[in-house]
């Protein structure tokens, strides 16, 4: 059995309209975030991974299972979609219970797993209420419970934090992290970048149906050569340090931090700069910290895709 989620030369067209084009991915365990503006192809990619749509060309396999084999695929995959429709008249518990019965589980097991899933998303109090009366956040949570209920190895979550309040967001993020720590594949689509930045092991940046970058966020940032790396240095004598750095020709641009306790510089070669900094800072300048200022998802996203539609 393959231990990756593989997309090989995958394209999907809706008639004349491009969904995704020539996507090649090999997704390892951990939290992977799909990032991109609306219409960039995130949901299409997730629907392709779960067989809800078929690729126009290419091959998709999830842990060795073909996506046209739902009987086996959904034993290892749980998908929380953005579709906001539920079978009519069902309570939250009945929704999860019915899903588990559809999976072929006996009544007792379905009941037990259903209760556990509902407790995991903190919806136990509302489990007996009809879903039609749920708030947006509650519907989001019940969808998450459905995806989690059968304890799948692969969790595919389309905008899972939408509609959740800050406390619920924190709880869900903790849930995703614990799933990833247990070796699960957690694939999350989001356009809320600071959250993605906090939780992702790797990101897939998408734009107009194309994958524009993928991998761990720092390695993606390192590959963007046209934008100099920004580095924030906190120190006691920033003006003096700035002058020395300029003299060493290691930085292309330097600005003093407004609190006068640091400086922000841009360099084309971060590794060389770090080596040079050791020599520059010998003369009594106390350096408190040196941190990259633009190797987060937001910066990478802005460099590669632009800042439109980004929710910070």
């Amino acid at each position: 059995m393959n231990d990756r989620i593989i997309l090989e030369d995958v394209s999907k067209f809706y008639g004349e309209i491009l969904g995704v084009n020539r996507v090649n991915l090999s997704i390892p365990p951990g939290i992977t975030s799909l990032v991109g503006p609306n219409g960039s192809g995130k949901t299409t990619l997730m629907n392709l991974m779960t067989g809800l749509i078929r690729p126009t060309q290419g091959r998709v396999e999830v842990l060795g299972y073909k996506t046209n084999d739902p009987e086996h695929l959904f034993k290892v995959v749980g998908y929380s979609t953005q579709f906001d429709a539920f079978p009519k008249g069902l309570t939250g518990f009945q929704f999860i219970y019915s899903y588990l019965r559809l999976s072929g589980m006996d009544s007792d097991t379905a009941r037990q797993l259903g209760r556990q899933a509902i407790e995991r998303v903190n919806l136990a109090d509302a489990a007996g209420r009809v879903i039609a009366g749920y708030s947006k956040g509650m519907r989001q949570r019940i969808r998450l419970a459905q995806a989690l209920a059968h304890n799948p190895q692969v969790l595919i979550l389309d905008e899972p934090l939408n509609g959740l309040d800050p406390l619920a967001r924190a709880e869900m993020i903790a849930l995703f992290r614990s799933a990833a720590a247990e070796g699960c594949y957690v694939i999350i689509s989001s356009h809320i970048l600071h959250e993605v930045d906090v939780i992702s092991d790797q990101v897939i940046l998408m734009s107009n149906g194309y994958v524009v970058a993928e991998g761990a966020i720092q390695s993606v940032r390192n590959e963007i050569s046209e934008h100099p790396t920004q580095i924030l240095i906190r120190c006691n004598r920033p003006r003096e340090l700035a002058a020395k750095v300029l003299a060493s020709e290691q930085a292309s641009e330097i600005s003093i931090h407004k609190d006068e306790c640091g400086l922000l510089l841009k360099t084309r070669n971060a590794d060389d700069f770090y080596l040079a900094l050791n020599k520059i800072a010998l003369n009594g300048i106390e350096i408190e910290s040196v941190t990259p200022a633009d190797d987060d998802v937001l910066s990478v996203y802005e460099y590669l895709i632009g800042s439109d539609e980004v929710v910070r």
């Binding site: 739902p70 579709f83 906001d84 429709a85 539920f86 079978p87 019915s98 019965r101 559809l102």
Partner: protein
């Protein structure tokens, strides 16, 4: 079949039956199923009233008449001759009409009954001018009428459109409600999903239309005296006919259900397949023998226990619709219908594998 598949089919059925039986958009199906029941209740009330009237009339006569007595009345007889033949009339309408030139015409209307059939004798100036015998209750004639309603209304319209409403929406309704992904995200073979949905639709339509058919039978027979009812049920194949009608109703649900299930997957607009199937079923008698077999009504007609005679003088085109010129035997009809239904289900299972969730999240 794997045990888990059966469990999954039952799970699909549980969800679907709830939706099918209690869907607001399906309320009209109950109405359609009830229409023939209402027809037979109305018929039974009218018939019952007629029987009571005839019996009352017969009781008020001087003597008990036979059908032959009623037939003995001829035009040209005098009022006295009629009274001598049939006795004093229990109902006698008498009136005079004053014409021009001071001429007066005397009219009489005499009613008699043998307890079942009534005779209306019209006399002008004491001479019989017109005789009308109104045939009362006739089980043979009513059986044919029941068969006619069953074949031409119940099967071709009520069950047909009922199955359309239920089976066509099994997948199409989910797409319209944007809830099909719920099933497509479960670890269940799509063929199993088709089987579960089909069986749920079959149970629902069978319950609705078999109940309707049972009620029609009850309405058809309730106004009869216990003796007449027993005679019909146990000595004139009434019970066998009733059982046949129930079985044919279920088979109609199987056949039309399979047709509409696949049609609901293949077409977005339900009007196109509905018209196509309706026309196809309608022109069945005019099709070549090979094409006739790809139809539901062809087999159902062959299974019907009562043949409907073609009334004399009917245009050949209509006569062909009623008659069954090259019927198949009942076992062959049964096998043929099941094969056609299985073919349609096979097409459904191919189609469901190709289905994608194309509705958006907007």
């Amino acid at each position: 079949m794997k045990r888990i598949w059966w469990e999954q089919i039952k799970a699909v059925m549980r969800l679907e039956m709830k939706k099918t039986f209690f869907a607001t958009r399906g309320l009209w199906i109950y109405f359609v199923a009830l229409v023939p029941v209402v027809i037979f209740i109305a018929y039974a009330i009218a018939n019952s009233t007629q029987i009571h009237r005839s019996e009352n009339l017969a009781r008020r006569q001087d003597r008990w008449l036979t059908y032959q007595d009623l037939q003995a009345v001829r035009n040209g007889m005098s009022k006295e001759q009629v009274i001598a033949l049939l006795g004093k009339p229990p109902v006698n309408f008498h009136w005079s009409q004053h014409g021009g030139g001071g001429r007066t015409t005397v009219h009489d209307e005499l009613h008699y009954s043998d307890g079942v059939d009534d005779i209306y004798v019209s006399l002008v100036d004491g001479t019989v001018r017109n005789i009308h015998i109104s045939d009362g209750y006739d089980m043979g004639r009513d059986s044919v009428m029941f068969a006619g309603v069953f074949q031409f209304f119940f099967l071709r319209l009520a069950v047909f459109f009922g199955c359309l409403g239920i089976f066509m929406n099994l997948f199409r309704g989910e797409v319209l409600d944007r809830s099909l992904h719920f099933y497509f995200l479960a670890p269940i073979r799509r063929e199993i999903l088709v089987a579960g949905k089909f069986l749920a639709g079959l149970v629902a339509t069978s319950v609705i239309f078999v109940t309707s058919e049972l009620l029609q039978n009850v309405a058809f027979l309730w106004h009869l005296s216990p003796g007449a009812r027993n005679l019909y049920l146990y000595h004139n194949h009434g019970l066998a006919h009733a059982a046949s009608y129930l079985a044919i109703t279920v088979l109609a649900c199987v056949g039309y259900g399979a047709f509409f299930l696949v049609a609901g997957m293949l077409f977005r607009n339900p009007i196109i397949p509905t018209l196509a199937i309706l026309i196809w079923e309608g022109i069945n008698p005019f099709l070549p023998a090979v094409l006739k077999q790809i139809s539901v009504i062809y087999y159902l007609k062959a299974l019907c226990p009562v043949n409907i005679p073609t009334p004399p003088g009917m245009p050949p085109l209509f006569a062909m619709l009623i008659s069954n010129p090259d019927p198949v035997s009942a076992p062959l009809a049964l096998v043929g219908l099941l094969i056609v239904a299985l073919l349609a289900l096979y097409l459904s299972s191919l189609q469901v594998r190709r289905m994608e969730i194309n509705y958006t999240t907007e």
